[in-house]
Amino acid sequence: MGIGFIRVGLWLATLALTFAVHRAIPSEPPASREDVFLPKPQLAKLASLGFDAVLSDYYWIQAIYKVGATRERPEEFAPYVSRIIDVVTTLDPWVGHPYRFGAIWLTDSPESVRRGNELLRRGIEYHPDDWRNYFYLGYNHFYYLRENEAAADALEKATELEGSPTYLPRLVARLRSENADLESSVIFLTQLIESSESEDAVAVYQGALDEIDVEIKARGLDRARESFEQLAGHDIEGLHDLVEGRFAVLETLPPAEPRDLPQALHKGDRWFVDPETGRITSTYYNRRYRVNTRAQGEAWEGEAMPSAEKEVL
């Protein structure tokens, strides 16, 4: 009886100790283990011994983890994602989404965008009937590289394929007319959100769309400012000049937040004239739209803007 009691007690103590030790062991892998060993694509193919499809899936999931863990620092994950998607698509070139995944996330530099385009072109090789890869390619050319001709070429291919959106021909025409503007971006982004396969990607495009929305409103204010200057003979002293006083050119100022921002997230943002740039800016972003600066041929985050060579599909 007594011995039985001691035995059970010892057993419970052992269990408790074991579980305590288990609790002390972190269940999440340390950050340094995030990057799995990544072989050269050809070596991976060689070593897969016929298990290429499942190995491809493995690296694909690693890619998702990597982006999920470091989403705010594209310059950190971009080189890794570029290589891992290369491995994924070499092991199983018939995968669909990973090509576009590469295009979505490889946007931190023109080099990255071009890597993304290479992946898209490989995707097109294996999925010649899928209009989406062409569409993403067109978007990259237009939005990041300002290569409207190449963008139009890519979209033109997409228009010939089943399932492509009906307005694409108009978008192509717009790009060809050298009239590419923020409206084109809106069309692109709206379609990307519609056809997007992941919430993460939707968030990325929605972010760009929001920024463009604010930019469109800022440009409206720019035009109001010019009108004021013509009427008053001098620049505004503050935004209030546009809606008050003798030379008021606007009824009200537009909201400084993006249009689709839920009410709960409104924090009383306002417009101001940035003392550094002298431009009308929303406190929501505290800067003007970046694509806009690229459109003027300025440097991309300190890197030389590549010449807009036409890329052949």
Binding site: K45, L46, L49, G50, F51, D52, A53, V54, S56, D57, W60, I61, I64, D92, W94, V95, G96, H97, E197, S198, E199, D200
Partner: protein, 258 residues
Amino acid sequence: MKAIERIWTIGLNTVREAIRNKLLYTLLFFAIVMIGTGVIVGSISYVEGSRILQDVGLASIRLFSTGIAIFVGVGLIHGEVYRRTIYTILSKPVSRAEFLIGKFVGLVMTIWLQLLIMSAAFVVVSLLSGAPVDLGHASALGLIGVELAIVVAVATLFSAFTTPMLASFFTLGIYMMGHLSRDLLQIGANSESASLERITRVIYEVLPDLEMYNLSIQAVHQLPIAASEVWLPVLYGLGYVAAILFAASHIFERRDFK
């Protein structure tokens, strides 16, 4: 005709041995669990989950059935010699070739039975997850069956004259080379060295070319599979198995059972 009856008797007994062995049930259980985990792995990816589910399923089937083929295959003959059950069998009007082929047939039947069960699990898991199953999947699974027969034949060959340990090394080596030989051929062809090209060519020609039995990607992506992509490998497999069993019998005939 009598010979076929004897081969069949030995084969059936080999199946019976496997069916009464708990280890194989355990392996089968884990294989089915792994096919099921494809659902979880597939759900980690926010896209193409059903594709990943089927990738994992087909890979599990190949991994487990190849493992069973190699590690049961290499002990196939050795176990009979070690336990001396072969003594009484060969004292009957049974030739050594009949015995060897009977053991081979028995193991292949066992493994095909397991493949069938695993395939059923694969189909169930696929359909429950809404992944399509069609003739492509059947072709892929069928060719896995042919590949397994080749692996068992190779294991039987080594089992006929060496220890299970060495035989498993050799068989595993041949299995790996069989999946590498096409890539090696490519490397050889791209190299500047004529001798390297010749060596890789010989490896490609002589060793079993197993990569042709890998239709997983085609099946899962529902790519078109030509009829010749199935029946030529079947024909090749038949020839290869026959050739290996012929060589194995030849070696086995000369062996002393000390």
